[in-house]
Amino acid sequence: MLTTTLIILAVFIIAFLGFVVYDLATAKKRKEVYRVKSTLTAYLMLLPAVILAFLFIMLPILYSLGYAFTDYYLLKPNDINFIWFQNFVDFFKELATKGTLYNAIKNTLIFVVGVVPLQIGLALLLALFVNRPGFGSKIFKVCFFAPVVISLSVTSFLWLQILAPGEGGLLNALLGVFGIPPHDWLRDPKTAMPCIIILSAWQGCGYQMLIFLSGLSNIRKELYEAASLDGANWWRKFWLVTWPGLRSTFVYIIITVFIGACRILTQPMLMTGYQDQTVTLSYYMYQQGYTYRWVGYSSAVALLMTIFIGGITLIQRRVFREK
């Protein structure tokens, strides 16, 4: 493994040096006022960050990419063999059986379709609400942002208390007041994933609210004044002024929320365990890699997931690009 690391490191160093040399060599052509000494100093100062990025970002990605084509079993780290595309063949074979992998993909898609609009919609509503002057907006900002700073593990456990089955659960106790019998929210396949969607949207929307707020602050007030003079109501102002002004913010948010949603792992892991009604693709990948110890196969799943997320993100960028 260390030999491989050294080879990758050597390639990286050569590429980095090549880039430095190319930069210097083409400087004259670009007619830049180029002082070699100060440029090299700049690259030297860049080097620590580049090394860290290489060690902690690039290297794990490269290893994961490489492992996807091997039979790496966690308990046999010194016996890794190259098996070409066998892991990908196994992936599609497993998918064809409509077993856990099929459920994982289905649940991930349900989660994404549910959580992306809900979380972004909630975030936008909250941002519009706290953006109004007065009305204790600062306190509300803090309150709405609070779930973001609490760890997902903690919020999951809090929601476990809320959704606990029987009369002991907070939600069931509340519904009991209205004569509704207790329900096992997280074990019932019909309600388990919706509960996780609601929890996730509640937990994450505070962060997007802040981004929307910064977007709102960039919209010029004169536009609203002009709209008012033209007799526009609240909805017309929102549709014709606010929404176009938030377009680039919205594109950023939809891409990041989508990527985050595709990677959902903690909530189902802590709230239901590895069950067919809530297993997600990331959870499947974790289970295969860590619990079942098939690192090679798990890496192949990760690679396919990355390709899928990357593809959808590109489509999103194309759909939402400025015309």
């Binding site: 260390l2 090299l40 780290p77 016996d79 089955p165 029987g166 096992d184 365990g273 619990t291 079942y292």
Partner: protein
């Protein structure tokens, strides 16, 4: 300019050289010697150093060092607390193996024996531990006929019951005859549940909600064996015909019937037994200190609670299996001193000291446990001796554990045949995959 370029190249070469030195300078096969000339043997534990259990291990390690001072052998205890289930500790083991820093002795959870042994992580102890010494243990960690580990302590489980509720329901005298030597039957178990339900108490917490980790498999697998069922064949590579057999189904059906009759449910809270809402509670020996010390307002003395064994179906079976010691196949080929430490840590004296701290059952038959006849501890020990049956020994154990949890979670409203068919297929596929693995 030239100086600067030279310094960049020098720096890069230094980095490459440093990596190269690390690559070439892997751990040698020589024993580790400390500055005082002692041969150092490393032993890694899965608990926190400051815990009661951790302190018990540390005391025994210190006692070993004192006893072997003249021989210049020194044991060094490493504590890597298991914080996120066994897998976190396992990751540590694997990382150490990759880095070449694996300790000489490690602790491990018994169901992992097959997987660790097959992967070559553990050293074969068959020739190092004599047959007479092996006889002294209630259980051993064996795979493929070879010995790979010696247990630290043993565990067994049973039904803790609230004597006050049982007296009020008029069934206290009835259950007094149900002992480890003479366990109750499935039907008698249902009869007691029925009487408790009629009395207005939730009869039993079977822990069917504990399906996120190893708890449900550990506590509930004996019901399947008691019904005459099983999960795999003796090789651990065949599940079809075992996991989905009629006898196995009848074991799960017994639990499903309890749910259907309202004797147990997924909605029972974690503390409902301790707050006297539930009549019986399926748990392991670790509940004994809790009842003795933590819940005194409801259970002032042992007159208020007792322990009943597992009920039997066609046969009697009870839960076993705890953490064990293994010698690793690390970079030290000479195991002479390592076996001395293993013998010390598994001696009768160590077994007594550790189980006194943990409240678990000593794994050695020659330990003077001093349990009073009829006490909860005695019931667990006798049950272990007479009906203890280990969880399936298979390299695919993690998949078995997951599928078992999925069956239990689906018992409430799922179709049992479908659940068992899916579980069997999943486990069999994994077994085939592992059997076809190279090496």
């Amino acid at each position: 300019m030239k100086k600067l370029l030279a310094s960049i190249i020098a720096m890069i070469l230094a980095i490459v050289a440093a990596f190269g030195m690390i690559a070439c300078g892997g751990p040698s096969g020589d024993p580790d010697i400390d500055e005082d000339g002692n041969t150092v043997i490393k032993i890694m534990f899965h608990v926190d150093k400051t815990s009661v259990e951790g302190q018990a291990y540390l005391k025994r390690v210190n006692a070993f060092n004192l006893a072997h001072k003249e021989e210049k052998i020194k044991a060094q205890a490493i504590f890597k607390a298991r914080t996120t289930g066994a897998s976190g500790y396992e990751t540590e083991l694997i990382n150490n193996q990759i880095e070449g820093t694996l300790a000489d002795i490690v602790t491990f959870d018994a169901p992992n024996t097959a997987a660790y042994a097959k992967s070559g992580l553990f050293y074969d102890l068959s020739s190092l531990v004599s047959a007479s010494e092996q006889e002294k243990f209630y259980s051993l960690n064996k795979y493929d006929g070879k010995l790979y580990g010696l247990p630290i302590q043993e565990s067994s489980a049973g039904f803790f019951y609230n004597k006050k509720i049982f007296r009020a329901a008029g069934i206290y005298d009835m259950v007094q005859g149900y002992t480890a030597e003479n366990p109750w039957t499935f039907d008698q178990f249902k009869e007691v549940c029925s009487r408790l339900k009629t009395h207005g108490t939730i009869p039993v917490d079977m822990r069917i909600d504990a399906t996120k980790d190893e708890m449900a498999p550990y506590l509930l697998y004996p019901f399947i064996y008691a019904a005459g069922g099983s999960f795999t064949d003796a090789t651990g590579y065949v599940a079809t015909g075992y996991y989905n057999s009629a006898a196995t189904k009848s074991g799960f059906q017994f639990i499903k019937d309890l749910i259907g009759a309202g004797y147990t449910s997924y909605a029972i809270g974690a503390t409902d037994f301790f707050t006297e809402k539930v009549g019986m509670y399926l748990s392991s020996g670790w509940t004994i200190p809790d009842l003795d010390n933590k819940y005194r307002e409801n259970f002032a003395s042992r007159d208020d609670w007792g322990l009943l064994p597992y009920p039997k179906g066609t046969v009697a079976a009870s839960a076993t299996g705890s953490w064990s010691y293994a010698i690793t196949n690390n970079h030290h080929p000479d195991k002479t001193n390592v076996i001395k430490l293993l013998n010390w840590m598994t001696s009768a004296e160590s077994s007594k000291a550790i189980t006194d701290a943990t409240g678990m059952i000593p794994v050695r038959k020659d330990v003077n446990h001093g349990y009073a006849v009829g006490s909860p501890e005695y019931t667990l020990l006798k049950q272990l001796e007479l009906t203890g049956k280990e969880r399936p020994v298979t390299v695919a154990y993690p998949v078995f554990s997951t599928t078992f949890n999925q069956v239990i979670a689906g018992l409430g409203d799922g179709n049992l045949d479908t659940l068992l068919s899916t579980a069997t297929t999943t486990l069999q596929n994994e077994m085939n995959r592992l059997q076809n693995m190279r090496g």
